[in-house]
Amino acid sequence: MTAITGRIRSVTAPVRAAFARVPRGVYSALGLAAAAIFPLLNVWGVVETAWLRVGVLSLLFVMLSLGLNIVMGETGLLNLGYIAFFAFGAYTTALLSSPKFELRWPFLAVVALSTVIAMIAGFVIGLPTLRLRGDYLAIVTLAFGEIVRLTIINLQDFTNGPNGITGIYPPRLASEGAIASLGDAAWAKWLTVDKPIEYYYLVLVCVVVVAILLSNLKNSRVGRAWNALREDELAAVSTGITAARAKMLSVVLSAGIAGFAGALYAYYSNVISPESFLFMQSVIVVCMVVLGGMGSIPGVILGAIVLQALPQMIREAAGAARSEFEVYRMLIFGVIIVVMVIFRPEGLLPDKLWRSESHEVDPRELEKTRQSLFDLEEGEKDLEV
């Protein structure tokens, strides 16, 4: 096995070296350009509008995965109820901008409030749970996600229960009066986002902003604190990192991003119902992060695109065989998780730190020491009651 991979490595080495000489940023620019040009293909008539909708949904999942990556990849906390924060954002938006309560708040206010409410939810759930160890935290967040979904179904006067909220107004980027005063100017119609292509660019801009913010954060003090906590909490704490504060920041931030994505989703889909926030959706986002590479921003983006857009493509390409494929879709998701975790835990496009950890040191040895350190510490933290 290793001999073969070694040979492959030696053959591909010069190619890789050549690629490595290309300055960083070139690839990001290329990727961004591709994403920006994609809708034009529709305008030129190369691809159909349905692909724009696939694109919008993929971008929303990219944002969700980026958010989940903060807690899961950077800080090493597993969140199995992540879709609940998405639901908080979506329902806030739906209530503030739909005929349900006859409200139509301005776009920026709604998005800001959706983000803040999701962040508050993250804070409230993080406060008592962050002292738990990893696997318990995962189960608590799973329970939280289900409680949120069931509560949405049960609060029928407020959320219309299982029927969902319909007729969410399209976002207006300027006030109604301002748009009207522009008259027939060609770009004025872009201020009311109601076409798939307009949604695409709106979401793309948001995703790019979030991605830039996160990659800066990753290389900052905060990001390094998260990584340190993930690698060895005790050592991190002894270097002066306040574990509680750093963890809370990551949970709140990731909840905020999910809320933001939820707001955009509600605007885009025009109608939301509890069916969109099932436990399986949380698992799919987890799967995207695992596939792409925990802690690696380009990896996570790739993971989300692959898992969201690939089924659609196969569907289009396979034609008649697609219902066969659908039966196997969840099966494939499950297999991806197991296979990736066993054979390539660092993901498709690994992060530097994860890579060093999972290959160069005997993981079992590393874990053993770490575990013993943690257990000692937990014993003190959990106390008797």
Binding site: R16, F19, A20, V22, P23, R24, V26, Y27, S28, L30, G31, A34, A35, F38, L41, V46, V47, E48, T49, A50, W51, L52, R53, L57, P99, I153, N154, G161, P162, N163, G164, T166, G167, D194, S269, N270, V271, I272, S273, E275, S276, S296, P298, G299, I301, L302, I305, V306, A309, M313, E316, A317, G319, R322, S323, E326, V327, L349, P350, K352
Partner: protein
């Protein structure tokens, strides 16, 4: 080093994704063009979309809907209008009964340039498709969406050829009152269909001066002992279960085990399935359960017998749920095209509003405005009142119509 590498792979992957996407799409396009050229000949081809859920939670319902449309395609697929022959081509797309997926499918339909759509299958998925069809002005007729609030925004592009649950809810209430019930328990499974039905029935019962108690379970629940205990304490004359048969069967079974066999057990079309008998624990337990149905019983549907024969001959199986409603939906759409004398969607929408159609399930038209429980686009059948909604009772192994 690694950063460059990650970026490189990302960019490559994006490029691959794009290129792959382009190839598949252009590939699909040429295929479509080829087929269209071969099939048409003299005739002009128009496209009608079929949005259904062949995968997801209700694959059997989705397949039946598709079969119904395919049968209708054979019967009405070629027609003459203004001396020109038109040939219908159907575009079947699967939305997995998922709201997010449904939006993409609806957009694909728009892209395909369909003149009308049959579907979707479930209320949840249909809700996110309605605004897209309304925006692009494409008429949509569903043969299976029964949720009373499906067309809450009263758009003029949404129609349905199956009955709204509102009528059934009132029918259940009326029946319970007829049976002399003074105290009634309403139980739903927290799904859109069951909650809607139970809400309508509860309102109607309270109007009739009947004392009610509302109980719930979750779809997939096994143990209903808490609910049974609550029911026992309330001591009702009847229980109306508005969910589906798996939970209804369990409820009936556990009620009998708790000594509540005397309570009249009623339900909507969700429990009118032969499997209810097995799920209730055999014929002895299921005997005497009542159900209404969201449509005229098959023997009262004028064209049903012929339809069932054709269906069996073509697909080799018995008629699936809502197949004839989907057959009628397709027929009504073609009739509207003929009435409009045009394949422009605006004309078809206008024609649908005045259409009176004689289908398998009877002669019907579509409501032109929302009024009470009836919403715009709902099927209107002459002479239908909650009092003559079909009623069934279990005798032996299966449901039989009550005279």
């Amino acid at each position: 080093m690694l950063h460059e590498r990650t970026r490189k792979v990302l960019a490559l992957a994006l490029a691959v994704v794009l290129v792959f996407g382009l190839f598949t799409i252009s590939g699909c396009k040429t295929d479509d063009g080829g087929e269209g050229g071969d099939a048409t000949g003299e005739a002009e081809t128009i496209k009608i979309g079929v949005q259904t859920a062949l995968t997801g939670p209700l694959p059997d319902y989705g397949a039946a809907a598709k079969n119904g449309v395919e049968l209708a395609l054979e019967d009405f697929g070629t027609f003459e209008m203004d001396g020109k022959t038109y040939q219908v081509e159907i575009v079947v797309l699967d939305d997995k009964a998922e709201p997010a997926e449904s939006g993409i499918v609806a957009q694909s339909m728009v892209d395909e340039g369909v003149v009308g759509v049959i579907g979707s299958l479930t209320t949840g998925a249909t809700l996110s498709a309605i605004p897209i069809y309304a925006e692009y002005r494409i008429p949509q007729i569903s043969g299976s969406v029964t949720g009373p609030k499906a067309n809450a925004d009263s758009v003029d592009t949404f129609y349905r050829t199956c009955w709204s649950d509102a009528i059934q809810g009132e029918a259940l209430a009326a029946w319970a009152i007829e049976l002399g019930a003074k105290k009634v328990v309403l139980m739903d499974d927290n799904g859109a269909y069951a909650v809607g039905l139970a809400d309508v029935a509860e309102a109607a019962l309270e109007e009739g001066g009947v004392e009610t108690l509302r109980q719930n379970c979750q779809s997939g629940d096994k143990d209903l002992s808490a609910q049974v205990a609550n029911v026992k304490e309330f001591a009702p004359d009847a229980l109306i279960f508005t969910g589906y048969h798996p939970e209804a069967g369990l409820m009936r079974k556990q009620m009998i085990e708790a000594g509540l066999g005397d309570v009249i057990f009623m339900g909507g079309d969700g429990i009118k399935s032969a499997e209810f008998v097995a799920e209730a624990g055999g014929t002895a337990n299921a005997a005497g359960c009542y159900a209404t149905f969201g449509g005229f019983p098959e023997d009262q549907q004028p064209g049903y017998e012929a339809f069932a024969e054709k269906y069996k001959a073509k697909f080799g199986e018995d008629v699936g749920p809502y197949a004839q409603n989907n057959y009628d939906a397709f027929g009504a759409l073609i009739a509207a095209i003929k009435a409009a004398g045009s394949t422009e969607t605006e004309d078809i929408i206008a024609a649908l509003q005045d259409l009176e159609y004689e289908g398998v399930t009877g002669t019907f038209s579509f409501a032109s405005e929302t009024e009470g429980a009836v919403q715009r686009g709902d099927i209107v059948v002459a002479g239908l009142t909650p009092a003559n909604v079909p009623r069934y009772v279990i005798e032996g192994e299966d449901w039989v119509a009550v005279e």
